[in-house]
Amino acid sequence: MTDYKALEKQIQDQARQWLESGEVKYVIGFEKGDNSPVCRPVFIYKPEDAGKLAWGPLCNNNLTKYLVEEVQIKPKKGEEPDLRPVGIVVKPCDSKTIVELMKENIVPRERVKIIGVISEGTINPKALDKALKDVPLDKIAGIQILDGGDNFTIKYDGEPLSVPKDELLNGKCKVCVVHNPVVYDIFVGDKVTQIDKDEFEDIADLEAMSDEERYEYWKEQLSKCIRCYACRDTCPLCYCEECVFDRTKPYNWNEKTVDLPENFFYHMVRAMHLAGRCVDCGGCERVCPMDIPIRKLNRFLLKRAKERFKVVPGINVEDKAMFGDYDIDDPGEGIK
């Protein structure tokens, strides 16, 4: 059981200390909004604002996206760049992203100071919305959530709700096996014992289908996609200077047309681009306005990458990139 308040205090204290000493330029963390129970990203520049930093199961975003932005911003002409590290609050999955970003030469270790927080799972806002059906609308923004073991306890000034975790947790958290940050400067929380489970149980049903059934499944899902590219825009590993899907000169990889073939193309190509890299932070799926189970694509390739090439992203900075490497014994059973 996680005591969110205690963790929040440790995060605030650490951030304050770093900001006071000037060791970090600023701290990227979460804050509680005024009109929503869901936490949102915040940038803390002054020690006296450190108290705004919040922690809880509604801290969903993978903030490392902003870290990428920070290191990619080029200093204006004649300006001396401030290369001090940036402080950041990360969950275990977000910390895996940092491993990948370091591996891929995007974020140098010395540019970041990491507050790594343990996490036993975060809450899906859409699921929360359902659970709050009977809570008066004007009370929603002010709810408080406590960890009650197998349940979350939702407090407001009425009868507290107790909701089984399984109903609220993000899909990615249900299958996650890494509950401790893998890279950090400060470790916040008590180490959680790793659980051993079939981490790919969530795609088993799809895998069991026939090709035709799977096609029908994806056809229904992908036909919804409005190609807003939010899934890409939120993904910290989609840091390309110019994404192939934005390219129009001198050629376009895919047309702007929003239809099934183009949507398929987009999703298949992006899945390939994330293959062997996606750390399953769940960002893409969470932000998708059309509720497309994008993670399933990524996770399937994650599974195959592990089975075929023993590649597990986000764990070791020394590992080679899956597509930068090969093994002479790689399987290729279908090849003639």
């Binding site: 909004g33 005024d34 009109n35 929503s36 129970p37 869901v38 949102r40 990203p41 915040v42 940038f43 975003n61 996206k65 902003y66 806002p125 859409k126 929360l128 919305d129 709050l132 609308l137 004007d138 929603i140 923004a141 229904e220 899902q221 036909s223 919804k224 409005i226 807003c228 590219y229 939010a230 825009d233 939120t234 934005d246 129009t248 047309e255 702007k256 047309t257 929003v258 239809d259 960002g283 969470r286 932000v287 306005p289 059309m290 509720d291 497309i292």
Partner: protein, 344 residues
């Protein structure tokens, strides 16, 4: 005089209307989300609102303007006059979205009459559904602050209100009356009690709208804060994903592209968003809105300043879609209130 229609008769009505040669669209559950799609039966009565606004019926996300043929170096455009075809019925449009269609009407006939939109619009009959549970995820509706209400009849040919096992049906236009006619005995006269019930439902719904935006003085505040550093503050966390605009019922920006695949060419227009860095980029490479703050500012200005100036109506109908969808909780009410604060 109001009528009623029993919920279990709606499917029959849809069938009747369809068989009269009309294309019927309504909210349909599709892979887990509700979208405006072809309707071949009844409609769910418990939907909050469609994820994508119904504007896509009149202004599809991708629309072919014309085909062209390529033969060697010769290109021939096959432009055909846009001709009226079958009538369209949009069933189950929420009042906020209907008000948004009014914005689009104004826009697409403003300085240039857009034949693609106008053609479809002229054919369309819009039946609104009053909101009884105005509850976009995590309470973000605020129609009452921007001139609307859960039962506003603006832009509607008919308004239906859910009163249990039936809808109370109000018709405001000829197009609405035409539906009554087609429906024939599927409709019945409303009883006094039904009307009373409707009034209560409407009132209750209105009371459920808890988010408020004070529109007083917005234009002045915005004009005063164009260069204010305030815009940096929240734009820093914006991802530039454009969900707020693509899902907005009044947003109408599009991009025109010539698409050539498998030897066939077509000119298409596809929704675009001012939140994308590529949106304003010039051929020279110069981008007048280089940063997220410029783009966020543009969104707010467009809805609350430019729209007023050009079309004489607010560009926001308070549907709350952008608030509930934004992955980083950028809340247009907070943003506008903040701008007012900054202007002080």
């Amino acid at each position: 005089m109001a009528s009623i229609i029993n919920k279990d008769k709606v499917a029959e009505l849809v069938k009747k209307v369809s068989s009269s040669g009309c294309e019927v669209f309504g909210p349909v559950e599709n892979g887990g989300v509700t979208l405006f799609r072809n309707l071949d039966g009844g409609i769910p009565s418990d939907f909050t609102n469609s994820k994508k606004p119904p504007k896509e019926v009149l202004f599809p996300q991708t629309e072919t303007m014309f085909d062209f043929e390529i033969d060697g170096s010769k290109i021939t455009a096959l432009v055909e006059p846009v001709e009226a075809q079958t009538p369209i019925l949009m069933l189950g449009v929420r009042p906020c979205d209907a008000r948004a269609i009014q914005v689009l009407d104004a826009l697409f006939t403003w300085d240039y009459i857009d034949p693609y939109y106008v053609n479809k619009r002229d054919r369309a009959t819009i039946i609104g559904f009053s909101c009884t549970e105005p509850h976009m995820p995590l309470q973000s509706c605020f129609c009452t602050s921007v001139g609307g209400s859960p039962s506003s009849k603006d832009g509607l040919d008919m308004l239906w209100t859910d009163i249990g096992d039936r809808y109370l049906v109000e018709s405001f236009t000829d197009k609405g009356n035409k539906i009554l006619e087609t429906g024939g005995n599927l409709f019945a006269n409303a009883a006094k009690d039904d009307e009373k019930k409707t009034e209560d439902v409407k009132k209750l719904a209105e009371s459920k709208i808890v988010r408020k935006l004070d529109t007083e003085g917005i234009e002045k505040a915005l004009e005063a804060t164009f260069d204010h550093e305030y815009w940096d503050e929240f734009a820093r966390r914006c991802l530039g994903c454009g969900e707020c605009t693509l899902l907005c019922p009044t947003c109408h920006c599009f991009d025109i592209n010539d698409v050539i695949t498998r030897g066939k060419g077509k000119r298409e227009r596809t929704w675009d968003s001012c939140q994308y860095p590529y949106y304003t980029i010039h051929a020279s490479g110069h981008n007048p809105r280089p940063d997220k703050k410029h783009r966020q500012r543009n969104r707010v200005y467009h809805k609350f300043l430019y729209s007023n100036k050009n079309l004489d109506m607010l560009g926001c109908v308070g549907c709350g879609r952008c608030i509930s969808t934004c992955p980083v909780n950028i809340d247009i009410i907070e943003v506008v209130e903040g701008a007012k604060e900054a202007a002080k």
